[in-house]
Symmetry: none
Subunit: 256 residues, 2 copies
Amino acid sequence: MSLHSELDRLRVVLVSPRNPLNIGAAARAMSNFGFLHLRVVNPYELAFREARSAVGATPLLARAEEFKTLGEAVADCTLVVGTTAVGLRQLQHPVRRLEQAAPLIRKRLAASPVALLFGSEKRGLSNEDLSHCDWLLRIPTREEHRSMNLGQAVGICLYELARNAQAVPKPQKHTAATAAADLERLTALLLDALRSSGYLKASPSGPQKRRSAAPTDEKIRRLVHRLHLSATDAELTIGIFRQIFWKLGSPKSPLP
Amino acid sequence: MSLHSELDRLRVVLVSPRNPLNIGAAARAMSNFGFLHLRVVNPYELAFREARSAVGATPLLARAEEFKTLGEAVADCTLVVGTTAVGLRQLQHPVRRLEQAAPLIRKRLAASPVALLFGSEKRGLSNEDLSHCDWLLRIPTREEHRSMNLGQAVGICLYELARNAQAVPKPQKHTAATAAADLERLTALLLDALRSSGYLKASPSGPQKRRSAAPTDEKIRRLVHRLHLSATDAELTIGIFRQIFWKLGSPKSPLP
């Protein structure tokens, strides 16, 4: 496995970025360190356009992919890592220091795509964004001044990922990891089963069309991510819940 | 020697910076990583003034020292290290990769002041500037795209200098492990739910009293163990399956 193909599996995902200079700086650092796949979720349109048309914009930025939702942006990734300046807010997630996180990310990159998420300049990643993450990393800064500039945070993370990359451990032969899209299917199925069973309250408009149950969705999505299912186990579990949901009495939705 | 007093001996020296945003970004990264002494040599006056008066400027920037010449700016330092994007131009100087340079700089910081120089955005350090340096460091970037943004270069160098300096890894706060007995309860419940749903065949003697389904039991038990559930998640999951099993076994109770 060459270094090049490993770096090529990282997706740097900027969620709702606001400042064209930061988008440009992130793209430049990516180009400096050889990470060439930028994804942008729900950017401020003007900022994204400005960044792309700026003097000296990297070709990488012209090829950046744009997504409406974070779920779509990470669908093909088997590991989703969020970045945070605050170490304590999200007790649901393990938070690793960057230098401890990097070897884990590199190991996964040896085999399959990984997403590294950066939130907007003002608010970072939302709770909904975090529910898509398997775990979080933070750059170890002073407690007195934790909040970093977005472009610098991207640059430092990528520097650390490329650092000593020649010393990457050979990919161990282990079970295939699960794409985020499959975990999302499992989350949806589990939620349906929980509503059909009465564990969660179904909304009047039916299990698939609720509106304001976001916190529950997030809670269940986090649970599913914490399970670290292999691809095989994810498939097995999806099969189980499909059967359970069917049996629980949705006679109108036959098994596919 | 405490970490604090070591970091306190570094002088970050920006030589002829042009862009107020870069000056501000450099100061912000310094504040993030705890290096508090910024020196600016012959800046574009307007840029320096703008950087100082910007919204969100760090107090560190207000205390930055200004010098007319580089010689004055590094006069009290026992080691002067220049940064370069070009590895080959200056054959007079040894050029070290950042991760090799950092331990040498930290060692010197334990005893006396060190200057770390960054050139202007357009031209880097001049030959005259380089003549003040003991040696050079470069951030290892792709050959195809070596030139880094000034603020990002400062951020990455300081990250590396602070990296592992706090090398006392905090004990990881992790969740309580689950007793095997709870995993066994979960396994049993899951098996009951799978039989009630028809995913597995129930034996004639009823779900609880099968005999020869050992391979299936093992398969499900292994799955449950692979999940590495925390005690909290195990409890949550047991609650979910208890409800599902109850619902599967009481077909007459209407859906809520």
